[in-house]
Symmetry: C2
Subunit: 450 residues, 2 copies
């Protein structure tokens, strides 16, 4: 069987590559091969534990693909032959292509400790059946240990503490939760929110083993403590799915992702890779970074989908700015670009501005939350390098103003004088809006230095 | 008495000029002259009718000025002498300056019809006493007629319909409410929201007279109708307060504002003007426009405050992008830059993209609203010229991503591939976020054209 465009993978990267490719090339045939029939919206998986009553409500629909005239094959790609431009599928079928896009994703990692394969140790699988099963197990658990205090760990900790009667422990080897995305002050607020929900945080501590006879019973820690556990959830990163690519001879990056250029082209003729399986470079250093976000993946997918047959748009992937947001307890958090900690580690001279104000004006209006914005700029030059926010739900879109600013190399002097919309019921006051005011504070520091 | 920096006006423009000037020049003395002692947060005045229980909660505090070491004089400037660099005050005092900033605001216009000076016809005054008085009158009214269906008229219509037992009519001579800020489809949704609240909209209709013997009794319309009225509120624009400037010989713009250059300098030596009293140019045409927004005013204030003694930052005012937002009924609305209607009027070739999605993913999550985004780009070139949104409260910050994009001349090809943060509880899904998707739709149209 021959298709013009074949995409391996039905996650956000695969879907958006397919839709973009079909939109740009309406006359080409597009086929998505996915190994999970009943998929889910991946980012919302934590919320199927408690907030979303029935996991089925979190199903990912095939309808947008079908509406666009894209074919879907529920099958698994098992090998790739570059010379004949053919993918072999588990069903025995062969699929040849003019352009192939690998969007094979990652497999969540098991914790690197003895006993990680004991029954009762879970990672997050992206199928409806596995999340339904996890929900059932979680609701009968008495002692839950979450390994990893990143976004996955923190979001599950909240949902499990709210939705079940279990004691919930989070074990994180870094000194704070959400440590790669935020500076200390934001990590601390996030930690407080989880503590307020009754989650026990074990910070700066490593798990040394998972104990249990046929079934998980406890997790031992490097501080000597033993946590009883009848369910362990690992949110400790993942491993890109590169088997097909590797066997076919495609270039693999130092950290084990499929190497791609600025247009998501692999080292093989007419083969692209997008999403979690492909090499991620940092926006500022171009060094390889392990950032696996649907929003980065979909951006890559749009680049690949647009440029499959010709480079139509010169705007190539600039590297990930790691833009993300979440909500823990009553507080929403968002971050994009570099933290101060990352600047220090990478050797960037930087200056920060911080500002806080209610996100309504006056602050007595319904729905008001305190909004805190920290912006990080390049020292002297003043280029926006990163931002961190906490506050009410509007944080989720304000971070996108920061994301646009980073990608458009907004300068602190421009931002200080930028026009933004404000409204009593929707935002901070125009006189104190922390997006602008934090730039002003950074500019003041720059002035005092010079 | 001599001060280094004298600012006439205590609204957002005056306050931010003072704070910025003091921040940039800590050693200089700064004095704000304001004629209203107990001021209010101007944008929130409509909400003192119903949402904010006690108008006192909407007071504008002098504390930020006091904390910064800025002097406040409650007095009224009555004349300006450029040669001696002196302002004369109503109290008889003279105040000389090194730099003067006029932030004298506007006076709301009375409706241009016979009977406009009848008792019971109100405009919005920015003092605590006048808004308290208006609230009292509104709560005893039986028939309220609002002249003007712009932001002020629409916001008061909502609050008056929610907070009083009166019948509320809005008379707007344009075919829709919010007609200068939005294209028809958004105006219609806004109109529906007000209609649902029981507001009667009289669109495409002019008031011809206000009737009443010593006290307002009715408003006659050009369609022959007569609306009974015991309270009339006029939201029909305003007149910049330029008396002092004009008498002192400063250049006045064609439409009656204080003329300023790109750094908010007037035609007089060492005299600046900011906010509603100063000339506003459109960002795209540089033509004079009557846009009076606190967010534009504060942007100008930051430019003036930074550059009073030297031009320290070359980023000058680029013209207003008219960024604003509001909420009517259950729907939030926001707009920045040019509408299609304005493009047509001004002769800009343009292409639009539209996209709609729930602002949570999946859409069953709590707090979800339908978000509709329309973006306007320059035809062929693809430069972002404007955006309109309606949806939930996050609209209030998403418009600021659009505002940053307009001011940084974001291109549709860049936006189509931009990285943005998404989260199930806070935003649309990364696969369908209308901010990106509307760019994709516009790009598709551009492709089909070429």
């Amino acid at each position: 069987m021959k298709k013009n465009i074949v995409i391996i993978g039905g996650g956000p990267a695969g879907i958006i590559t397919a839709l973009t490719a079909k939109s740009v090339n309406p006359a080409k045939s597009v086929c998505v091969v996915k190994d999970i029939g009943a998929g889910v919206i991946p980012c919302a998986i934590p919320y199927t534990v408690s907030t979303i009553d029935n996991p089925r409500l979190n199903s990912a629909s095939d309808q947008p693909l079908i509406n666009a005239g894209i074919e879907i094959l529920v099958d698994k790609a098992i090998s790739l032959d570059i010379d004949s431009a053919t993918v072999s599928l588990a069903s025995g079928k062969d699929l040849s292509y003019d352009r192939l896009v690998l969007a094979t994703g990652i497999t969540p990692a098991l914790p690197p400790v003895p006993g990680a394969d004991t029954a009762g140790v879970y990672t997050i699988e992206k199928s409806l059946s596995s999340i339904s099963m996890f929900k059932e197990k979680a609701h009968s658990a008495k002692n839950i240990v979450i390994l990893g205090g990143g976004f996955i760990g923190a979001e599950f900790a909240e949902e499990l503490s709210k939705g079940t009667d279990a004691t919930v422990n989070v074990v994180e080897m870094m000194p704070k939760i959400l440590y790669t995305a935020f500076d200390d002050e934001y990590c601390d607020i996030a930690g407080e929110q989880l503590s307020n929900l009754g989650v026990n945080l074990k910070l700066g501590i490593r798990a040394t083993a998972i104990e249990g006879n046929g079934k998980v019973e406890a997790v031992t820690l490097d501080n000597g403590e033993t946590l009883p556990a009848d369910l362990v959830l690992a949110g400790v990163g993942g491993r890109p799915n590169i088997e097909i690519a590797k066997s076919a001879g495609l270039k693999i990056s130092d950290r084990g992702s499929i190497w791609v250029d600025s247009y998501m082209r692999t080292s093989a003729h007419n083969v692209f890779a997008v999403g979690d399986c492909s090499l991620k470079r940092d926006f500022f250093t171009r060094q390889e970074v392990p950032v696996w976000l649907a929003s980065t993946a979909t951006s890559e997918a749009r680049i690949a989908g647009t440029n499959l047959f010709q480079i139509r748009v010169l705007r190539q992937i600039q590297g990930t700015i790691a833009a993300f947001s979440t909500k823990l307890g009553d507080v929403c958090f968002a971050s994009a670009g570099l933290t101060c900690r990352a600047c220090d580690r990478e050797g960037f001279r930087h200056v920060t501005g911080f500002s806080e104000a209610p996100d309504r004006h006056p602050g007595c209006l319904p729905g008001a939350s305190a909004m805190k914005v920290k912006l990080v700029f390049a020292d002297r030059a003043g280029t926006l390098m990163g931002g961190q926010i906490c506050g009410g739900t509007s944080v989720g879109e304000l971070v996108n103003a920061i994301a646009v600013g980073i990608q458009k190399q907004l300068n602190v002097r421009e931002l200080d004088m930028m026009q933004i919309a404000t409204h009593p019921l929707l935002t901070s006051a125009p006189t104190v809006h922390p997006f602008i005011e934090s730039a002003h504070m950074a500019l003041r520091k720059l002035r005092e230095k010079s």
